[in-house]
Symmetry: C2
């Protein structure tokens, strides 16, 4: 059976199904980030109720704590955490380069220090796959080098070549059938390098292709140029995943360019900072204007938070640092993202994605906050 089935195309936007060992994932899909085996502040039950089909775990974090060996002994992350939907794991590449105290990049792999206790570790493509298989990920990611922004052409070119060699080693290291392995396209902000990376990986025939190394502080225009540069090189019947993105308008933009999968800490992290997404744009619940606002956060939203509480109460909980506020905010933001991809799927199915896209962008501009730069990886 094919990994991905395309049910409908509407412009470049695609409606599809990705088959995993823990269920079918309807795309476009947003994957909430559960770095350490839990999506921050909410429960598996909450995620199931809002229709979340797949969450992201993180090889780097879970390797360091509680350890992938322990997780394996509990039957993988599904047995350990109790989550019964699909799980995609990040390879650890991004975290080694952003969180760990980086010691040295070698041909063989990367020596780094733990951000928790400073202990030294050596992560290789083979080790990353072993960790991800121990975790029991339904979708594993290749171990890649995520070049910093900005990087020179020369540096980035070497990085792309290393990433391609590592991708090949990841493919060879994979042991477990029925689990998917995605390649990660790098290349910084050089379109020729992005194309080279895409061609290299596609020639290795992965189960899906991710665009990585974006949303690292660059102007958004530049980011979308890189997506545009590679999209024609990606095979139609394989899932396409834009890593670490983004704001609601970014997800909608990505879908309009044929991207199927997204993950980002934004809905959860922003919820904890009081930044909440609505169908009329983003609001910061801390703002004094909400002190006596007796409206729900978003009267177009059907989540528990919006069905039961006013903005005034949510603001009170937020300024009082109440944990319940973090929970209610997170519940709402994740519901908003789940609802958003759900509505996009409907729009594609009904051949009206362009209308959805225009209406969504127009409405979002009514919100309080706009961002020129995108830094949302985590």
């Amino acid at each position: 059976m094919k990994t991905m089935e395309i049910l409908k195309e509407d412009g470049l936007a695609r409606l599809g199904i990705v088959r995993t060992a823990h269920g079918e994932v309807k795309t476009p899909v947003f994957m909430p980030v559960g770095t350490q085996g839990a999506v921050k502040a909410v429960t598996h039950k909450d995620l199931k109720e809002m229709g979340v089909q797949i969450i992201l775990g993180n090889a780097y974090h879970l390797y360091l704590r509680p350890g992938d060996g322990l997780i394996k002994d509990f039957g993988g992350i599904h047995g350990f955490s109790g989550w019964d939907g699909a799980v995609l794991t990040d390879s650890g590449g991004y975290q080694v380069f952003s969180l760990g105290v980086l010691r040295e990049i070698k041909e063989d792999g990367v020596v780094f220090q733990s951000h928790i206790d400073g202990s030294r570790h050596f992560l290789t493509p083979e080790k990353s796959i072993e960790i991800q298989e121990n975790i029991g990920a339904d979708i594993c990611m290749c171990f890649d080098e995520c070049a910093p922004y900005p990087s020179s052409f020369e540096y980035t070119k070497n990085s792309v070549e290393l990433t391609s060699r590592w991708a090949k080693r990841c493919k060879d290291a994979k042991r477990i059938d029925g689990r998917l392995l995605f390649g990660i396209i790098q290349g910084g902000f050089y379109d020729t390098l992005r194309v080279k990376s895409a061609r290299d990986l596609v020639s290795m025939d992965f189960d899906g292709y991710a665009v990585g190394g974006l949303s690292v502080g660059e102007p958004k225009r530049l980011m979308w140029d890189m997506v545009d540069a590679v999209k024609e090189y990606l095979p139609r019947e394989k899932p396409r995943y834009l890593m670490g993105l983004g704001f609601p308008e970014d997800i909608v933009e990505g879908v309009s360019k044929g991207i199927d999968m997204f993950d980002c800490v934004i809905p959860t992290r922003h919820a904890r900072n009081g930044s909440l997404f609505t169908w009329k744009g983003r609001i910061n619940i801390k703002h004094a204007r909400y002190t006596r606002d007796d409206e729900p956060l978003d009267n177009e939203c059907g989540c528990y938070t919006c069905r039961n509480f006013t903005r005034a109460y949510l603001r009170h909980l937020f300024v009082s640092h109440e944990l319940t506020g973090y929970y209610l905010n997170t519940l709402h933001n994740l519901f908003f993202y789940a609802d958003m991809v759900n509505r996009m799927r409907e729009a594609i199915r009904e051949g009206r994605f362009e209308g959805f896209y225009e209406e969504f962008r127009t409405k979002q501009e009514g919100g309080e906050l706009q961002d020129e730069y995108s830094v949302c990886n985590g």
Copy 2:
């Protein structure tokens, strides 16, 4: 209709119903603390599902933030927070003496500074009742002086007399019918003063009587002596409330002495510190012994946490500082307390409270932790 109906007595333990403007409260009852209009980390839905009938709010905190005037404009705490069960508010006395920077105790009231912004406020018995009525409490508490431990006989005697004069003023200040007002018995750790305080208040005919000023760092034996000293002076058909207590064994002990109502931050605060209650005693989930423990927290417990997760996973969430862990722990501890009072009510109804008491205490001694001193107010 009477405020309280006694359905059954079993030894000194009582099965009863307290009637409030927001429903009947079956006693013995434990009231989770929702200091600022939310029980920390959980939602109203969670509380309802575990059978919580009444929660505690705090006049001092809600007066300072968001303000009792704002709450009144939203239809009281029920309209503002969306909680539709009963609410009891603390008068603010305890918090003024423990949290605020105390300026001066006068006959008329207390000048204090806010713990939030240092602003100066003057709280009187009349003002406290006004605040509690603005909040829309179903049960209001008299404004009292909570003497520190230890205090001299002379100091405590004056404090009791002041508390009695303030109680009278609270009763006179009450404006809204159908809301209950409880007197608070003070007297430090002098049984003669406790008796005097109880007699003073009973002569004023309140809707219920609380024992306050306990659990402030004293040996537990001394605390129970004070409860024993006053209990024969309390009218049978009025609710009895032991403020700020306590550990599960304290609640059971209190019920055995004829106490009907309890509140404490222990289940919520301890949950956030990883201290979890089970039918076999308390455990600290942080302990390394749980690293690979694949059992539920408590296999006698029917809460969401115990039905779905292992100790190993809960430990992982706790050591990783995951908000989801605080939520799952809080859910369990509150469920445990709700289940405990529920089982006590059944035992009293069936005339087997003494057996419950003995079995409970024996089992609890199997836990990891024991406390000689009780400091649990908040």
